[in-house]
């Protein structure tokens, strides 16, 4: 009963995503890159870091990284809580 609906949904999903891919701008030519050019120019001056990616990860978007560390922390606490009776 459910399988035909799933197959239809899957075909619809795949077609939808392919349309997105075909509509994208050509590969390798970013449409707008003001923000990234700013990072490349200013990372050494403002954050004094040679690695632009790291300067984004820990300085410009440092708050995201705090969230990222939190995700890992959450998963660890969750796993320890899950196995709290098993491990005893």
């Amino acid at each position: 009963m459910k399988k035909p609906i799933f197959i239809l949904a899957f075909i619809f999903f795949a077609a939808f995503m392919f349309m997105a891919a075909i509509d994208m701008r050509p590969f390798g030519e970013p449409a707008r890159s003001e923000m990234d050019d700013y990072f490349i120019e200013n990372a050494q001056v403002q954050a004094s870091s040679n690695n632009v990616v790291t300067s984004i990860v820990f300085d410009y978007r440092g708050f995201d990284t705090l969230g990222e560390g939190t995700v890992l922390f959450t998963a660890v606490i969750g796993i320890v809580a899950l196995f709290r009776e098993v491990a005893k």
Partner: protein, 159 residues
């Protein structure tokens, strides 16, 4: 998971283990100069733990690596990370106040292509170390807990 592996594997593990850990810390410390950083380096160190687990089995390793200690390290790493954000609270949260200030990690970097100087980048380097500690402990706890639980579940099934 069950028991020890053969002598060849144990010998190689003993030799490689130290190198993996050192390489992991190298990646953590040079996060602001070369590809890598806290997350990648932490993952490398944690993979050394996984190697130990595979080689020696969970029971042996649990005597040497305390899970409680690891989870304390993990919390400490994150607390440090959050607090480094507070260093710049005179401007805003997460303001990089140490960069270009002249102190530890505070010397300005050469603009343009350069060979790299470890003593730059301010809070970025500090945060890299904090995150590195957090990730190595977190992944270590995950690997240890899951393998210990897997062993218990397997044993239950046999009996």
């Amino acid at each position: 998971m069950i028991g020890e592996m053969s002598r060849i594997v144990r010998t190689m593990t003993n030799i490689i283990f130290g190198f993996i850990v050192v390489f992991g810390f190298y990646v953590i410390a040079h996060g602001h100069l070369s590809p890598g950083g806290g997350f990648q380096g932490g993952a490398i160190v944690a993979s050394a733990f996984a190697l130990l687990l595979v080689t020696y089995g969970t029971e042996v390793i649990q005597q040497y690596i305390a899970k409680d200690l690891l989870s304390v390290i993990e919390s400490t790493g994150l607390i440090l990370f959050g607090s480094f954000g507070f260093l710049g609270i005179s401007a805003t949260y997460f303001y990089n106040i140490v960069a270009n200030s002249g102190g530890l990690f505070g010397s300005p970097t050469v603009i343009g292509v350069n060979p790299g100087d470890l003593n730059t980048s301010g809070t970025i380097a500090l945060m890299n170390i904090a995150v590195g500690l957090e990730v190595l402990a977190a992944l270590g706890v995950i690997v240890l807990t899951m393998s210990a639980a897997a062993e218990i579940i397997q044993n239950k099934e046999k009996s």
